[in-house]
Symmetry: C2
Subunit: 454 residues, 2 copies
Amino acid sequence: MSESTQAIAYAKNNRERYLAELKEFLAIPSVSTLSQHKPDMQRAAEWLSKQLSGIGFKHVEIMPTAGHPVVYGEWLSKPGKPTVLVYGHYDVQPVDPLNEWTTPPFEPTVRGDNLYARGASDMKGQAHAFLKALEALAKNEGLPLNIKVMIEGEEEVGSPSLGAFIEKNKEKLKCDFVLNADSSIMSPEQPSLVYGLRGLAYFELWVHGPKQDLHSGIFGGSVHNPAQVMCELIAGMHDADGRVTLPGFYDKVRDLPEEERRELAHPSDEEWRKMCGAPQLHGEKRFTTAERVGARPTLEVCGIQSGFTCEGAKTVLPAKAMAKISMRLVPYQDDKEVEGQLRAYLEKHAPPTVRWELKKFVTGPAVLVKRDTPGMRAAIKALEATFGKKPVFKLEGGSVPVVSMVTATLGVDSILMGFGLPDDNLHSPNEKLHLPNFYRGVEAYIRFFDAVAG
Amino acid sequence: MSESTQAIAYAKNNRERYLAELKEFLAIPSVSTLSQHKPDMQRAAEWLSKQLSGIGFKHVEIMPTAGHPVVYGEWLSKPGKPTVLVYGHYDVQPVDPLNEWTTPPFEPTVRGDNLYARGASDMKGQAHAFLKALEALAKNEGLPLNIKVMIEGEEEVGSPSLGAFIEKNKEKLKCDFVLNADSSIMSPEQPSLVYGLRGLAYFELWVHGPKQDLHSGIFGGSVHNPAQVMCELIAGMHDADGRVTLPGFYDKVRDLPEEERRELAHPSDEEWRKMCGAPQLHGEKRFTTAERVGARPTLEVCGIQSGFTCEGAKTVLPAKAMAKISMRLVPYQDDKEVEGQLRAYLEKHAPPTVRWELKKFVTGPAVLVKRDTPGMRAAIKALEATFGKKPVFKLEGGSVPVVSMVTATLGVDSILMGFGLPDDNLHSPNEKLHLPNFYRGVEAYIRFFDAVAG
């Protein structure tokens, strides 16, 4: 890969500027789910479009969608060479609980090797890394292939407008494959490639009992408490082996082939436990942690609320209870089928003493990427050259909706190549980006584009 | 009871003024638990002390406590006659959820036969009824016995200062028995007398898992979700028969003697169900509703909170979960013992994947009043004369801390005689007072004082 020597040297020499620019980008509070941040979403999109123009992209536009806009750029100067569609998102998660942040989430701060800010790892840092790789190539050897860039503003709310956007712009977005930078590696010492992502089905369950909150002394004992019913329903959704009890839940779950199982990489259990800070790990019996978070579906309570929850004591028998329940799906589960399974469970187990209702929110299928493709080979080559170590294969627990959309609409695979770390505190207070990874990321992307061009 | 003919006629002629005065009293937002209402507590106490002076009480004072003051009055002009200590409270519950009130809680409004306001039934209406009975006697035949009045401002927060107050003023409060007006009857057509009250033990349980909220995709499946653990713990606190499973929980619970069981009065199940508005009633198997709410202990979830509970979807695995758990105790359960039972349950059932902590809030023992005493006989006589129907006996589910305090410190029984109704929406939006009951209450108290005097 001698072709990119200059670009790599350029990237090394420009680290300070890269960091300063990234801080600028991170200071924009582009929280997609909160309407008061709509102007910030626009500012973030404009910031990106200026970056693309600065790099030399021939065509840059901020394209409207039903929700937040998509920033699109293209530079197609190498006929005969492959075309890669590079994906990222400029929106970030909300910051609450704010009081748990050491430094304010939108005042990017370097401490040690890390840059702390909301979005630092998920994924403004990754997006900036591929932009700086493209810049390094453009300003030195020149882009060796055709590039389209699509950076959306709604990934953190489940990409509700992106499916229609891709469908509408099918021709424009045509490509050989997608480089999806919304990904991570196992550790700074061990590069890895994600070849599967879990899907998501998110529900809100309501249990209604009395017409209003009751005096727990007067009525307590004669009325089924909706909070207790909710607890009973949720408790029954797992058995003693940690398996989800919804009828048929595992019917379509594939058994991992022995070879794939053997190759499956993951941090050690003790490292993993330290990352999450729980007293002990826990999960489905007879599976490793790598399988539990990558190859097995889950059902989680993301939130639960009922009755009086302020300080002190109020002796109330609540009228209703609410729980947010999310399922992480694996191939080849279907979100409509799991919804049916959840309804069947509730129909069977909810007592006649209450009324229940179920609302469906975001959904998206799981994804499995072929491991033997030109894109994958280029990624392996780039990672090995940058880290001095062969990447291992990982199944990732999170969901990235766009991956299945591009397969369905554009008929192409995605290479999931990003440089986040499992302890980057994604969606949590004190999100961070490991800066050595950021710089290595820029270099790895340079090598990747080179390797794809061949 | 011909002695009180004039007083009864006076009470009938003054209904309009009684209602106008009560509205004045109810307009004072004396919410004891909220510090911003401290001046209103003082105003309510002053309003009462003016009432007592107006009636002709020889000695009236607003006596400080560690918390809100007690309004005290005495009129001891009948040596040789019994002395009754009349108890009431002038504080009220908070009003939230405010948007569920048809008319504002502190703008007392008559609709049909009912007066709507916070505190109308619990218990400014009851307090005003005994004050007006005393007034009617004082202004006509004269008080036939010795009266001490003690109206506190902290019942709705569990009477935290009253125990010390009674202890300190033991001599001053000496009496033959207590008339406690913080009570209710079965229906406007069926008078009843409460001879037992459940006690209370209130706890807050915390379950801690990961060090902070986690990404439910990345970690989901490998970490025990504290919200799920909380649900499992709570679900396990009842068995399929609706019995509480804490070890030893029923050991000290008395079996109701067959005669008491037969006499135990309660609205019909269908009336009760309509009052609470639940699809069906529910409770401990093999017990009637009357027993379930009066003679059996309960364990209720008063509140539960974990993770993300705002609108929409946030895919988070919560770091912790909290539940407010209250138990209604019956004779001869002990709050320290049930705390021990709850801890034993948690020690046995909480998994090593989480850490838990338990905080104790308000507690108070259950109460059982002797049914064959001069006070009880006077109450029966007064109710029968007023309603034209013999009262039935009830065990009440709620707790009134003062009842056990006066037994412990003054060595006297309480007569629980009030005129609230089970559907008065105590502690709930749209609290109301049934006005015909209020007027009958005044008359019944007149007859009661007469009957006690003999």
